[in-house]
Symmetry: C2
Subunit: 430 residues, 2 copies
C-alpha cells in the first residue's frame, strides 16, 4: 500500500496553513506511520494572495470548494471552512455521497448535522472523522470512541474552551475583573473581536454535545444543552471561591441518568483537589468516568495552529491506515435517543453570590428564603462593601436538589434587599 | 458483521476475572460499539476450583493454554498469564503464527519480545494489541500510536508504577519513611510480598521501553533503560524537595536526541507546577511532547481489575471492529534502530543529599568538589542532625552536564566527611 493518500484541503486559515506546515515538516515520519505518503493535491480558499507562511503554489487551486468531493484524484477532503451550514455542509454532503473520506475540525457542523453526516458516511462505508472538533490536539474523540469503549460512561465533562479558561485563570492570578481581562485577551489575539461564541458557552456546548454522543452512545442533541457563559463572573467570586477551596472554571458536563441525558455548560466551582482545578491558561481538559476504568483525565492544547493541525493529520493517518469505522462509535441505528433530563432533577452543591444593601434584616431575609425552600447552607461569607455600594454575600449550600436553590432565588426575586440579580454557580463534585 | 468475536482467555487471575466481569456487565453496550457480540468460548488457568467471583462454568476449560491459538472456534486469544517468556510467549507465537489476533497485558513480554511478535503479526496480517501493558486503563498506547501520530515526539515520560507512586505520595502526606510505608502497603495488598519488580523500577522500565518505541518509531530497547528505584528515598528528601518547590516521583523518561535514544527510570524531583506533581496515590500518568501538538497529558488508574480489563476489552473492540494495523505503529522494517544515548551527554538540574559528619570543613570539602567538577549550586540547605548522628545536607544544582555531577560525586568517594553514599535525584524540567 504505497499509493499516496490524496488530500484536498478546503479552507486555508490558521488551521489549514498549519496542516500544510505539519505535512511538510513531518512528511517522512508520517509516511512511516501511515504506511504511505499523505499528499495535498488541491486546495480551495477565498483569498489566493494572502501570505500563509507556507508555499502553496505547488497545489492546484480550486475556486469552487464544493467540487473537491467529486474529483477522481482525491481520496479525502479536509474541511476547515467552518460554520454549521453553508459551504462546509455542502462539501461534507457531496464528499460523503461520493464515498470519499471526510475530515473536519468543524464542531458547529458536527453538533448540528453530525447524525446526518454519520449516516451518509455509513451508507457509503466512508470515513468521517473530526478529532480536531473537540479539545484541539487532545485525542479525546479517540479516547472515548476507542480508548474507553469497554465502559459504560457515567459522566463526561471538561474545560472545552481555551478562551474562557485563559480569562478565568488570568482573573485568578491577577485578581482583575472579567471585562479588563477580556479586553487584554482581545488585544493579544487570544479572544475574538466578537467573543460571544466563546464566552457565552456556545463553542463549549457544541463540543460537549459531541462528547456526550460518543460517551453514552446517544444521538447528538445540541439543542438541549443548557448554556451559560462567564460574563457574570467577578473578581470577588474567584477570590471567595479560592477562600473556600475552589477554583472557577467553565465546565461542560454531560450525564446519562435514569431521567435521560443531562447536558450543561456553566461556570462551576471546582475543588482544588480535582485535576480540572490545575488546568490553567488556554489549555483544555476532558474527564470521562467509566464503570470499569474509573476516572480518565486528558489535558492538552485545545486550539491553535499546531494542536489543531495535529488532530486533523492524526485523522488523515487513520484514514491512510484504513483504521476507521462508524463516526459516532456505532452505527447510527444503534444510537439511543435519550430524552433531555431537566436540571431540576439533579442534586448538587451550589455557590451563590448576592450583592445586598448594607442594612439590618437582609441576612435574615435571605437565609429565611433558603430555609423555606429547603436549602441548607454549608458556609457563608460576608465581607466589606463592593464597588457599587452594596455588600457581597457569598454562600455554599449543602448537597440538595438543584430546584430547591432555584426556588429560593425565585422567592427573593424583586426583594429590595438585593442589588442586582444573585449569581449562581454549581459545584463540580468529585 | 453480526458474527460474534470468539475469545479464548488464558490466565484467570485478577485481570482475567475482571475481563469476564466486564464482558458480562457491559455486554449490550459492547455489542453496539463493536458492531457484534464479544464472546468468551474457552478459558485456561492453573486452578479450576478457585472462586473468582464470576460464573466460569459456561466456558470450555482447556488445560493446555498453548492449544488455544490453534482452535478453529477462536478468533482472538487474550493472554493474561504474565512472564516475559514461558507459556505466555509460547502462546503468543502460536496464536500469531495461526494468523489469529492476540491481545495481552504482558509488559515484560512486549518489552523483551515485542519486535519479534510485531513481525509475526505483520506477516499474517493479524492484530497484536497490548493497551493494558502500559498504564493500565489509560489509553496511552492508542494515544501515541494514533492520537499523537502526526507529531515528532521529543520526550515521552510519566508515572508508570502505581505502587511506587502510592508509596512516595504516602511518604509525602504522612511524613514517614520508605520502609514503614512499604510494610503498610504490603499489609493492605497494594504492594507485592516481593516488591522488588515495582520498587526497583523494572516494571516501569518495561512500560517505558514500549512507550519509547511507539513515540519515536524505534525498535524496542529495554536492555538500555537505565533503571533505579525508590528504596533510597527518605522522608527528609521529600520534605526538603517540598521546601524547594518539588515533589518526588518515580519517573520513566525517554528522549530521542541527536546522540540516540535515552531511556531512564529514576526517582525525580518534579516542580509543583508540573501536572505530574499532582498525580497522587496509585494513579499513573503519561506525558508526550509533540512538535505540533505540544504537551499531552493522560492520567488514570494504572493497574487493578477494572482498569486493566477496560484496556483489554478496548483492544478486543478494536479487533472486532477491524480497526487495527501494525502493532508498533509502523511496519517493523520501518522502525529505526537508535544507538543508546549515554546519560552523561544530557544536561539538567540535580538534587543531591549528603549525610555528613558534624565537624568543621565538611561543607568546604563538598562545595570544593562541586566547583572542581564544574557544578554550580543553585540552593543548599543544611538542617539539624539526622537519626544516625550525621547532618543532612541537601543541594540543587544549576542546569549543567549530568556527567559533571557524577564526576563531583566520584571525587567525594571515600571521603571521611560523608556518612553513607550521597543520593542523587534528577530534576524533571518543564
Amino acid at each position: 500500500m504505497t499509493q499516496p493518500l490524496r488530500v484536498a484541503l478546503a479552507g486555508l486559515g490558521t488551521v489549514g496553513g498549519g496542516v500544510v506546515k505539519l505535512l511538510d515538516a513531518n512528511a517522512k515520519l508520517i509516511e512511516r506511520r501511515a504506511g504511505r505518503p499523505i499528499e495535498v493535491v488541491a486546495v480551495s480558499a477565498r483569498d489566493r494572495s494572502r501570505d500563509r507562511g507556507v508555499d502553496l503554489s505547488r497545489f492546484e487551486w480550486v475556486d469552487d470548494a464544493g467540487s473537491l468531493g467529486h474529483r477522481d484524484d482525491v481520496d479525502v477532503v479536509v474541511e476547515l471552512i467552518g460554520g454549521a451550514d453553508g459551504p462546509a455542509l455542502t462539501l461534507a454532503r457531496s464528499t460523503l455521497a461520493s464515498g470519499k473520506a471526510f475530515v473536519t475540525a468543524n464542531k458547529a457542523m458536527i453538533a448540528h448535522h453530525g447524525l446526518e453526516l454519520a449516516e451518509a458516511a455509513e451508507v457509503k462505508g466512508a470515513a468521517l472523522k473530526f478529532e480536531a472538533a473537540v479539545a484541539g490536539g487532545i485525542p479525546v474523540i479517540k479516547g472515548l470512541r476507542e480508548g474507553a469503549s469497554a465502559n459504560e460512561i457515567g459522566r463526561v465533562y471538561g474545560i472545552l474552551n481555551g478562551t474562557c479558561n485563559y480569562i478565568l485563570t488570568t482573573m485568578e492570578s491577577a485578581g482583575t475583573d472579567f471585562a479588563d481581562v477580556l479586553a487584554d485577551a482581545q488585544a493579544l489575539g487570544y479572544a475574538e473581536a466578537d467573543p460571544s461564541f466563546d464566552i457565552d458557552g456556545v463553542d463549549a456546548a457544541h463540543k460537549l454535545s459531541i462528547l456526550a454522543s460518543l460517551a453514552f452512545g446517544t444521538t447528538l442533541d445540541f439543542g438541549n444543552v443548557a448554556i451559560s457563559g462567564i460574563r457574570h463572573v467577578i473578581a470577588a467570586d474567584i477570590a471567595e471561591a479560592a477562600a473556600l477551596g475552589f477554583r472557577v472554571r467553565l465546565v461542560g458536563l454531560a450525564e446519562a441518568t435514569s431521567n435521560g441525558l443531562f447536558q450543561r455548560v456553566h461556570a462551576c466551582l471546582v475543588p482544588v483537589s480535582h485535576p480540572l482545578a490545575h488546568v490553567s491558561g488556554s489549555l483544555n481538559a476532558v474527564v470521562a468516568e467509566g464503570n470499569f476504568v474509573g476516572r480518565l483525565f486528558f489535558e492538552g492544547r485545545g486550539a491553535g495552529e499546531g494542536p489543531t493541525a495535529s488532530a486533523v493529520v492524526a485523522d488523515l493517518i487513520d484514514v491512510a491506515r484504513g483504521e476507521y469505522g462508524p463516526a459516532l462509535a456505532m452505527p447510527v441505528a444503534s444510537l439511543a435517543r435519550l430524552a433531555p433530563s431537566v436540571a431540576g432533577e439533579r442534586r448538587g452543591r451550589a455557590y451563590l453570590r448576592f450583592t445586598v444593601a448594607d442594612r439590618p434584616g437582609v441576612l435574615a431575609e435571605i437565609t429565611a428564603a433558603m430555609r423555606d425552600a429547603g436549602v441548607s447552607i454549608e458556609s457563608l461569607i460576608q465581607r466589606g462593601a463592593s464597588a457599587d455600594g452594596g455588600v457581597i454575600l457569598v454562600m455554599v449550600t449543602h448537597e440538595g436538589p438543584e430546584k430547591a436553590v432555584t426556588h429560593a432565588l425565585e422567592k427573593l426575586e424583586g426583594s429590595l434587599s438585593l442589588i442586582g440579580a444573585p449569581q449562581l454557580m454549581h459545584i463540580l463534585d468529585l
